[in-house]
């Protein structure tokens, strides 16, 4: 966990250095403050230019008062502290002021040309203006505490000949939050005169090499006041520096630590960072924000349908995604069928999705890595947040357990959606039940100044029951221990131990068939990584990891006294996965950067197990077993291993343009045995064995990234090609549960996926948003199967996840700092569907005949959602704050197909029908709060 963060931040350091070297600085307030007008120029002729972002309106007025020689009078309680996002280009002063005030229901009145009273539009009259001015003159009104930059002075050594003879000195230290004492990650330290800078790592540490002398170091970080350090350096020096927070909403506190131009600067291709703020602003089903649904707005990330668990990346299956939360893997991320996920957005810090180039420290999956990092609790004060929605509510609380030493954060979500079922007339629904909860807790220990320990625990439970007949239950439990040690400014280490358990069951209630069928997977993993920064341009990471998979026996148990079901237990394959990896990232020239990794992974299937040998050249069936070999406990049965090279290269075409290319080879030793488009909770996780080979994926990708207007606009285009081997395919209508001879139902297949993704993003301003289009294809071929067992005669056929066209458009209109309007449009090609080509009668029933799998497609999916947010969390710095979100999901009531099936029509003909579970517009309201 730590090393992932370290790598990200280190990479950010490089990005920043590159930016500095090429004289490209992120847009900042200090850079955009227009120069003071010539004293001879009157205010009528003054011109305002610049890009004001991230400062409050009060700050803006303060700056203008100073620069333009005007005097503002206003009621400090009325002029908000919200941040403004305004661009000016050759605007006259008064229109510029009007522009700055609009949206806040504020207006101004001139007592003289340079004496300006600002007041609510409706109350602005001469009498009011005079009263306000009088309050100021009497000193009863003063400027509010402003979020302007502050200054400190630091001095190391003194001027001497020897001191001046050195080429550079190291200015090291750590930036931390003044209130919480948490490290400030990703903060930049810039010496503009030298065009030199650095950024803090995951522990807030920095190291800046400077020539001897006096320097002005500007420290900036999103959410913090700018700080200017007047530095005199004549020897190496170290300082821990506190940064003061801006007044800001909780959303902005937990925004992903990422540079505005990371898309261009990052060497890795196909890496997406999603901010929690963005997720929360998206219109959502029943008003509940969800991480997975947020991911699905990105190009190349799709789902097979409403209510499907997990997500599909570039045509891959959901089991090809490694999903981590603080380093602990999830094997089922679904809550409530899949309409929600297990991730609680209240306590998420960072979300990174690797869908193209995947660094060597990640492995075991062939499609993508979703790395979710949780926040640490506040080390200083107790805070909390929560929300109340139609389907579930959530609450999180954080604070110090030992001030400045130990902090904790805990969050819980619980559903109460049964009330919705109770109001339905249909008996089966009224007597059904759907419940879930999840609980997450994280403890953070500052062992020493250079050692931290974190302990994360998670538990979730889902329960569905259909009437009084049958239902599903599943649980996720995991715990992760992280221990990070910083040996020096260049050398650090991260250790992680994870224990996880996933269990699921299908139960039938009542009668002689009453039973409970359960399975599950326990995993134990250890990972040790070390990080070494050779110099500003070169970094290394190395490590080892091992995971033991202990699938629980498939169990069938009688349920109730009247059941005649015979209990049985079927042992499943177990095994050990291990890997060693080395990753390096560096700069070849001023324009050419690379990231290279090598992972050597292996897997050992272990006993106890009876392994069946089947006759060659005939279909694999129970009747074709020719030998049985018994293996003892922990005895090695089958071993697989191989190299996994990873390589990315970036050619920096200009300050805001780059081309990237990447190649990955990945191996996957655990497979979700699921023959459906969307996985169900009781689908088996099966490790590779004698009959099931590991999956192998060669991934090639190429992309062009171009930002405009100082990263305000971000455009990218990527193409990729995936070549897969060892994909698990299935014979026609297989039996996958409680099957001792599972391999008789499986086929080995190859796959290929290719596509192009195009994305345009506007990152800030009154209008912001993203347009993403992806064209992707995904195919499977059972080329090695016997002629009678091949699917579609051994020809390539579309995989269940082949959805060629995907469009996502998200637009946000920030009406004013409190009110925001968001629109989200989603379109994707209908998923493949096996069409019936004929019908026939047998045994007194009429059934359909299907010959070519996935030959047809269900109707295309599209949907428009809107939401309106009234967010007052930024209205004050402390205390209870809240926001409302009103949303309408599926605004134009599109009846998107949940299922497509054949049925007799009134003419007794087979007819295709579509069932839409959400065939109407769904309004919702949710209430969120922080304190």
């Amino acid at each position: 966990m730590f090393m992932n963060k370290v790598l990200l931040l280190r990479r950010c350091c490089m990005i920043l250095l590159c930016a500095l070297l090429q004289n490209v600085l992120p847009a900042q307030v200090s850079d955009t403050i227009p120069p003071a007008p010539d004293s001879a120029v009157s205010i009528d002729d003054a011109v305002v230019n610049g890009d004001y972002r991230g400062i409050s309106l009060v700050d803006l007025l303060s700056i203008w008062q100073e620069r333009f020689g005007v005097k503002f009078y206003f009621d400090p309680e009325i002029v908000p502290q919200y941040k403004v996002y305004i661009q000016f280009k050759d605007d006259r002063f008064y229109p510029a002021l009007r522009k700055a005030l609009e949206g806040n229901n504020l207006a101004f009145s001139l007592l003289s040309k340079t004496t300006i009273v600002i007041a609510p539009r409706q109350s602005l009259n001469k009498e009011y203006a005079m009263n306000i001015a009088a309050e100021w003159e009497a000193g009863r009104y003063t400027w509010p505490d402003r979020n302007l930059a502050t200054e400190i002075s630091l001095s190391f050594g003194s001027t001497s000949a020897s001191a001046l003879s050195a080429k550079t000195y190291q200015f090291r230290g750590r930036l931390y939050d003044e209130q919480t004492e948490e490290p400030v990650i990703g903060a930049t330290l810039l010496v503009q005169a030298l065009e030199r800078g650095t950024a803090t790592d995951a522990d807030g540490r920095f190291n800046l090499a400077l020539p001897p002398g006096k320097h002005q170091v500007l420290v900036q970080s999103v959410g913090y006041r700018n700080l200017t350090i007047n530095l005199e350096i004549f020897k190496d020096g170290q300082a821990d520096i506190a940064l003061a927070q801006f007044v800001m909403s909780l959303d902005e506190v937990i925004v992903s630590a990422k540079y505005a131009d990371a898309n261009v600067r990052n060497t890795q291709i196909g890496v997406e960072n999603l901010s929690v703020k963005t997720i929360r602003e998206l219109p959502s089903l029943l008003g509940e924000p969800d991480l997975i649904k947020g991911l699905e707005t990105l190009a190349g990330v799709t789902t097979v349908g409403e209510g499907a668990a997990g997500f599909n990346v570039r045509g891959g299956n959901i089991d090809q995604n490694l999903v981590l939360q603080d380093g602990a893997p999830f094997y089922n991320t679904a809550h409530a069928l899949g309409f929600y996920s297990v991730f609680n957005t209240d306590i998420i810090s960072n979300v990174s999705l690797y869908k193209g180039a995947i660094p060597a420290q990640y492995g075991g999956r062939t499609s993508s890595v979703l790395d979710v990092q949780l926040r640490e609790g506040n080390f200083q004060e107790v805070h909390g947040s929560g929300g109340i929605g139609l389907a579930y509510s959530r609450l999180s609380i954080e604070g110090p357990l030992w001030r400045n030493r130990i902090s904790g954060i805990a969050a819980v979500r619980a559903s109460y959606s049964n009330w919705m079922l109770k109001v339905v007339r249909q008996y089966e629904i009224r007597t059904s039940a759907v419940n879930f909860y999840d609980f997450t807790a994280k403890l953070s220990f500052k062992l020493t100044d250079r050692q931290t320990l974190t302990l994360t625990g998670f538990q979730s439970s889902d329960y569905f029951r259909y009437s009084k007949e049958f239902g599903y239950e599943w649980k996720n439990q995991n715990a992760a221990l992280g221990w990070n040690v910083i040996f020096s400014d260049r050398f650090s280490s991260a250790f992680r131990a994870v224990v996880g358990k996933y269990t699921s069951s299908l139960f039938e209630e009542g009668g002689t068939n009453a039973s409970r069928l359960g399975n599950g997977l326990t995993n134990i993993s250890l990972k040790q990584s070390v990080f070494f920064q050779a110099n500003a341009d070169w970094e290394w990471m190395a490590g080892v990891e091992a995971t033991r998979y202990l699938p629980q026996d498939e169990r069938l148990e009688a349920y109730g006294e009247s059941s005649t079901v015979a209990p049985m237990s079927l042992p499943k394959d177990r095994g050990d996965e291990w890997a060693a990896f080395l990753q390096t990232e560096g700069k070849i020239s001023e324009r050419l950067f690379f990231s290279a990794g090598l992972r050597y992974s292996g897997f050992i299937q272990r006993g106890p197990r009876s392994v069946y040998t089947y006759q060659e050249g005939v279909p694999r069936e129970v009747s074709t077993i020719i030998d049985i070999t018994e293996y003892g406990k922990n005895e090695a049965i089958q071993t697989y291993s191989g190299l996994e090279p990873r390589f990315s290269i970036k050619w920096q075409l200009g300050p805001e343009r780059s081309i990237k290319a990447g190649y990955n080879l990945m191996r996957q030793y655990i497979h979700l045995i699921s023959n459906t488009s969307a996985a169900t909770p009781v689908d088996l996780w099966q490790v590779s064995n004698t009959h099931i080979r590991p999956q192998l994926a060669h991934v090639y990708s190429l992309g062009y990234f171009h930002n405009f207007q100082k990263n305000l606009w971000q455009v990218s285009a990527e193409v990729y090609y995936k070549d897969l081997d060892g994909i698990v395919a299935y014979k026609e209508i297989p039996r996958l549960l409680i099957n001792e001879y599972l391999e008789t139902e499986l086929l080995s297949a190859v796959g290929k996926a290719y596509g192009a993704e195009f994305s345009v993003k506007k990152t800030s301003g009154r209008w912001s948003g993203q347009f993403a289009y992806a064209w992707s294809r995904s195919f499977v071929q059972t080329r090695d199967a016997l002629p009678t067992e091949t699917v579609n005669g051994g020809a390539w056929f579309p995989s269940n996840f082949d959805q060629p066209h995907q469009i996502n458009l998200t637009l946000k209109r920030q009406v004013n700092p409190v009110h925001a309007f968001t629109v989200n449009f989603t379109y994707r090609t209908g998923r493949p569907f096996t069409t019936a080509e004929a019908g026939y009668s047998v045994g007194g029933v009429v059934i359909s005949h299907y010959s070519l799998r996935n030959e047809g497609r269900i109707p295309d999916y599209h949907r428009l959602d809107i939401s309106y947010t009234v967010d007052k969390t930024a209205s004050k710095e402390k205390g209870y704050r809240s926001n409302f979100t009103f949303s309408i999901y599926n605004l134009y009531a599109r009846s998107n197909a949940f299922s497509v099936f054949y049925k007799r029509n009134v003419f007794n003909q087979q007819q295709v029908y579509r069932l839409a579970v959400i065939g109407t517009a769904l309004p919702a309201i949710s209430y969120n709060f922080i304190f």
């Binding site: 026609e732 096996t834 005949h849 069932l915 065939g919």
Partner: protein, 344 residues
Amino acid sequence: MHTSKFSIIAILLASGIFLHSCVDALEFNPTEGEELLVVDGKLTTSGEDQFLRLSRTAAVGRSDNFPPVTGASVTLRDELGNIVGYEETQPGRYQLDGSAMQGVSGRTYILRIETDGKVYESKPETMPQNIEADNSFFVIVNQKFVNIHTSVQIPADLTLGPFLKWRIDNVWQVNEIYCGPFDPTDVCYVKQTFSNQLLPILDGSLLARGETARPFVAVKEADKTFGEVVYFNLYMETLTPDAFKYWNKVSLLLTQSGSIFDAPPGAIRGNVTNLNDPNELVLGYFYTAPEDTTHVKVLASDFLPYTINPYCGVAGFPPFPLPTECCTCTRLPNSSLVKPDYWE
């Protein structure tokens, strides 16, 4: 099967949560495939005449007139070398004289079909040992439905199975009312077959040996046919593992809802192959199965009073308008004045 259950949950619970779901027809251009041969037949131990249907598939969108295969030469032979022929009694319907060859447990049979110059044969099927049903019984659910169950003792010495399949029909009684001095009040027995039912099958492998299983077999809405007496007739067949595998796939196809939680459907290859072209896909199955019959009697008095209205009304209160069948009950389809021999 579990995926179908998940589909049911997904559809119904989602419908419940979101309070709105809808079904509408889609325009779809079906793939036009060739008309495939469909074999639908069996051999039982009942000693009654056996029937075999030969037909071809009909393209989606067309009505259910599956083209019959006429003029075929059909024979059945056993391991002893006995060969008997089928006679085509209706287009595509071939009949085997029950006295000519009766199924015997433990004996292996092969069906041979010659049509259009091609020769087809079924894989050898060995008639399994018969599993007897102890009895059958009914359960009335909410006075609205009648669930039919069978009691079967799972043999203690059976290692795999039993694999069971049921065919069900019912016969209900109609008492004519007084329609005039010259019209006698007859009693009819009307036979109904269960159509559009899910295929009742059971894999007993997961059931405790030596215990009695009581699987649910069928359900019928409690309608006017329960106004007097109804008999349910359950014909339980014991299948071979291969035959069960086939019918299980048919059953899975029938329960599919086409949702994201359903496995992709596929062609169900039967046990009949073209001897000249083994790659030709032949649909359907010819199986051998011992058959055991049980009857369940349901009386109107088994329901709460006034919940069931007899077809011809209660005494003195005929329905309006009066169905003509209440004066001449033989007008009802499949009705007979002959009381079945099991009728008590």
